[in-house]
């Protein structure tokens, strides 16, 4: 677990472009996120929020700039795997759960990657399922769940290996207002209870305003509001 105030994310002058440099999405972006913080990345669609999360999560490589996430460099393959396995959890707008698997099987996936013993995994799954109130659905398949239940399953999966940072890309984007509120509240609660830093991309102002800090993403630049 991180110390309160410890810097979890540090990015300096990060630039990213696509289409051989013709489309620049991020222009020299810098930011810091500390343990326990819920930082909102607020901006319109296509403003570069997801790209920034992908870069910090090691899913994509920057053109320029430096990044340090949980003391690791997400541009290095070895660090990337360590990051994904132990340090960060990812939550997507469309949850990206594996269809046909049950809730329990989906939540177990990160534990499979690191070889956690079966009994330990089962205990952890039950704990997480209790926290997000989805235990009664553990043996149901993903296609039998509502949108909110799917997102709660995705939260469980992201928390499975006890990460220090959650990267949440529009986690409420596909949910109705009430469910969105519930999921957002749940994320905040998880961050507080476990001292996890959350970097949350959203285009909805009401969620951004509830974050401990809000960074506006516009024209590939970040500005604090």
């Amino acid at each position: 677990m991180s110390d309160r105030g410890e810097i979890i994310v540090r990015a300096k002058q990060v630039t990213k472009s696509y289409d051989d440099g013709r489309i620049t999405v991020l222009h020299g972006v810098s930011l810091e996120v500390r343990a326990g913080e819920v930082v909102g990345l607020w901006g319109a669609s296509g403003s570069g929020k997801s790209t920034l999360l992908h870069l910090l999560g090691g899913l994509d490589l920057p053109d320029a700039g430096t990044m340090e996430v949980c003391g690791l460099d997400p541009t290095r393959e070895v660090d990337r795997i360590e990051l994904r396995r132990h340090q960060l959890g990812y939550i997507f707008q469309m949850h990206n759960l594996i269809p046909d698997l049950t809730v329990e099987e989906n939540v177990r996936v990160p534990a499979l990657a690191i070889g956690t013993p079966r009994a330990e995994t089962a205990k952890r799954v039950r704990e997480l399922a209790d926290k997000v109130d989805i235990r009664h659905r553990l043996h149901h398949r993903i296609q039998d769940l509502s949108g909110g239940e799917r997102q709660r399953t995705a939260i469980c999966r992201a928390l499975m290996n006890g990460p220090r940072l959650l990267l949440a890309d529009e986690p409420t984007g596909s949910l109705d207002e009430k469910t969105g509120n519930t999921v957002f509240a749940l994320l905040k609660e998880m961050a507080e209870q476990n001292n996890i830093a959350i970097l949350l991309a959203t285009h909805e102002r009401r969620f951004a305003e509830q974050c401990s800090r809000v960074l506006r993403v516009r024209d590939g630049q970040l500005s604090e509001i």
């Binding site: 795997i81 396995r85 990206n96 594996i98």
Partner: protein, 387 residues
Amino acid sequence: MSGWFFRRWKRHRWLSDMRILSLVLVNLLRHRLRAFIGVAGISFGVAAMLTILAIVTGAIGMFERILSTDSHYLVFERNVSDLFFSSVTSDQVASIRERPEVEEAHPMLFGIVAVGDHPMVTCFGIEATDPRLATGEWLAGDRAMFGVRDDTLYLGSRAAEFLAVQAGDEIEVGRGTFRVGGVFKNENGFEDGGVFMPLSMAQDFFQRETASSVVAVKLREESTGPTFKAAVEMDHPGIIALENREFSQSYNSFKILNFTAWAVGICAFCLGGLGVANTMLMSVFSRIREIAVLRVCGFSNRQVTMMIFGEASMIALAGVLVGFGIGFGVLAVMEHTPQFQGYVQASITGSVMVGIVITALFTAVAGAIYPAIYASKVQPAEALRYE
């Protein structure tokens, strides 16, 4: 200290790899139709290979037993492409019999005859002293009468069955009419489905004058084999004497049969392998996003590759089991089908079984190489960008 850390790291890595295999079965069950197509491809390959090899190995075994009944050496014409064309003259047979090392020598003439509606029935021209007459179970007729009359031939029990004749009946063989002098049962499928004539009668029938195809020689002392071989080949440069085992390994027809069987079987497997490759490719292409999610959840390239190879291996194993089931079923049916005249006597050796299993696994794993490489190169950001 570093040794302890390395062992611990290795154990941890092995454990995590083993746990990933639990996903393999789940993935195959999720895509049952695709997995079924892969299993079907491999199982048909296995069944084809098993059937072909078992029949060929059985046929070779039966032929070997025909030649080597109670003998140590086989003598036949040198450089002949097939024993059906071999000629060992009666003078050469007599000379062989006179050798001090020889206890018994039994000449035999092979031929193919048309009997009634059956265009190809194997005919054996043998002497009355031939051991196969003594070892057979006589169902009808008198063994002592073999060779006494010129117009009489004898049948294996299976031949009598498919020709629908019995002792005392007359049958048309080629352009001649012969009386059936007796029927005897023989364990060897070729012999049991064959026609037996006295050697001299067969030589007349096939217009081979005094020739025999092969002479089976039993020695007084097996250790005198090399002396016997050298003497025969020196006295009769046109013929060759081979130990039974040596003959089986060097006889061209056996080699061609074996090679053909393996070649056809491997071709069948290649088709199965392409099926697995196609199945695995479809599986990977339709799961690009899922694989990207696994990468995001911490799966390494190696773990993703292992998962794909695990799925291919599981398909291969299931294919082998189903294929063996189909193959053994087909062989059982063929062995009991009268139309095959008892010529199918499957022989399945351990090495053939192991060879088939290895070929199946190799084919499936080879078929999964490209899909596995493709899966391991999936870029999560690319795959997840367009949600």
